[in-house]
Amino acid sequence: MKLIFEQSAAGRGTAYLPEIDVPQTAPDFKGRETPLRLPELSEIQVDRHYTALAKETRGVNGGFYPLGSCTMKYNPALLEDAAAQPGFRDVHPLQPDAAAQGCLEVMRKAEAYLAEITGMDAVTLQPAAGAHGEFTGLLLIKAYHRARGDGERTKILVPDSAHGTNPASAAMAGFEVVNIPSDGKGYVDLQALKAAVGPDTAGLMLTNPNTVGLFDPNIAEITKAVHEAGGLNYYDGANLNAIMGIVRPGDMGFDVVHVNLHKTFATPHGGGGPGSGPVGCKDFLRGFLPGIRIAEEDGMLRRKEAEARIGDVRSFGSNFLVAVKALTYMMILGREGIPETAAGAVLNANYLMHRVKDLYPMAFDETCMHEFVMTLEALKEETGVSALDLAKALIDHGIHPPTMYFPLIVHEALMVEPTETEPRETLDQAADTFRAVMEAARQHPEEAHLAPLTTRVSRPDEVKAARKPVIRYDFDHPMD
């Protein structure tokens, strides 16, 4: 497919702006020296180009999308309508509070609902993604220890099954990362944890349900061990969809949480963002929260700053339109719909797991939460067919592959998260497909490496891409 630059013809374009209706003065600044090589296209070319690109992009509505850890649920249409209103879209972030009461009410409501769902006392909407929330939450922990003169707490404990963002966030926040092993069932190794905590422990980062899709039953003991050592507990909300309304991080002993609005709260992921990663905390950390706090004074909502705030983690208050969508979703679901959604996600995952587990060995064969992890280690050894091969074969059957090779503690892992919005029929079809793909792989392992066969592009050479990176169009040496 042609790049947009390869369709450009000098002099083409559409007039979007009127003539300048005021006098222009001579430049009094240093001007651009090199030509600006943006594409020159008529609008129909722009439209067709992106229509072609859209056809080679797989969205949630294109079919089953069981990408583990990503919660690819249906994004309700109303959410887009709500966010597209001029009364939200065309509001300047620095206009007076009195002229932005609706925006501030959206933020205050979203914060309150998220605080209740997570069992926290205060929430900031400022972080723009999950990893951004992790970084923010860890800075709260750092500020808390510093404020108490407890600067020796330099270590963050992270289970070896954690998302890669956890240790990376801890490092960015200036902490040393201590990896805690998992036990044979994928849970935190309690003995190892208890041996690791001490006067240098700043905190623990944990996902629960964990990244193998299991709820760690020792959670209260885990968080207690960290608290007793003087550390704080950070909850990575990536997997909140499994338990919202059922059990709350705040009641498990966590002090700080982030949630992913683009996972649990049905806001679309946009091909990689924008997301939103609000951070909640217990009362004793409230004063450190970044960004703005919203307070009501004389019947008017006003923007304030917390007294000991860590600063800002982005320019303005939030990825606001994402918050609008998440609030809309929470209002639709309400107090009974939220646990019903969680239970629906867990049921769908267990059902699909039961439909395939005789052919696909489970990494941990027990009741799962919202997702399950299969290991294709045996298949790989016996036939040479890898998790990657099977994932690619699923593409030919209209299924977006599960998450591959994660978590790192499971070899040849495929992580499947159906979400609650899939009807039983889709799960049945998916199970049949998973089974057929496995049988085909066993019968004709040599063909498995060729998949997918139905897409224009198949098996891009990633090694070549990384060895000599070409990461922009070269105008001086056109390609085709």
Partner: protein, 441 residues
Amino acid sequence: MGTYVPNTEADRKNMLKACGMERMEDLYAGIPEELKRKEPLRIPEGKSEMEVRRLMEGLARKNRVYGTVFRGAGAYRHYIPSIVGEVVGKEEFRTAYTPYQAEISQGVLQSIFEFQTDICELTGMAAANASVYDGATAAAEACGMCLEKKRRKILVSAAVDPKVLSVVRTYAFGRDAEVTVVPEREGVTDLEALKSLADGETACLLLQTPNYYGCFEDADAAAEAAHGAGAKLIMSCNPIALAIMKTPGETGADIAVGEGQPLGLPLSFGGPYLGFMAADEKMTRKLPGRIVGQTEDRKGERCFVLTMQAREQHIRREKAGSNICSNEALCALTAGVYLAAMGPEGLRKAALSCRAKAHYLKDRLEEAGLKAVYAQPFFHEFVTAAPDEQAAERILKALEARDILGGLPLGGGRMLWCATEMNTREEMDRAAETVREVLDA
């Protein structure tokens, strides 16, 4: 009512049975009872779509959308061609995840490759990433790229947007780096002070041009001062101004960053916005976040993949340069469509129009009795002084009454004004007239 769970009571029963369970509660048998929530969440009951739509419409109505806006300060109202919304609204782009599976993500991948090229063209740099959260986080991440064991000091010009400075400080708190503010003189960075502050412990200088007050900085001199001390230069630029101004690449900057919101993104009360980052050849592998690269598939077909992933958190974990995972891909697509529609001439026209209108507005406001605070060359923002704080408040109030959002109050009667191609001559005359009435009263 009102969830998006399709399975009926009968479905659920059958599905539970297939799993060897009887009741929905059995799914959660592994969670200790004492931790489970016994009461319903204290949030309202679920509602129908119609009810929620009305509630959200009610909230939107509580905001004011001004007919005329003369406020920028990091968020700018520009014309957005209709084609932008049409493209960006496509379900595939809107709902896809990060393009991990290249075979069914060529559209997103190619759009990011094109965006990276756009950003390289705008900034004059060698390489760009797929975006970060916003302009402020782009600046903060860029400072992080420059930190070395012996260079822990980050210099930030006092004329940088204070919100950006705040974010740089927050990130520096995390990385245990030191932030030193280089004072400003007459609306631009004090170059003499810069020369005395830049030393062997300086990692970088963050310079914004046009700066927070709208003034163009002497970036060449700043580059010389930073490089003279062995430090890196990070230039933060308005992407529309880049159509006409000397680029970071031409200035010899090591990293270019900026807020991409002016490129087709609505004001949205502050987000989602778009941070762009570009680097010279030597700094390319330190760029954080996703990068899309070109390669070939097994049939030799040109295609695109996420590449250089050995830098990233999911591979390097605590050794990664940044933790960023989700970025602002749909906003990057928005910018790509905007730039493709506008083209080089359209963007240049937008930039010239912004500059011309801001100069016109400044002249009119001066005639009306406000005083321009700085005498520097400027792009589309400038600062005025009213006799006192109360006068500035009265002006803003009078403008509000005429459906005009005036300049941002900076304290002490100073206001930061912005004009873009959206502002007509008539609007600016009307604003100036209002100012005159207030000051003459």
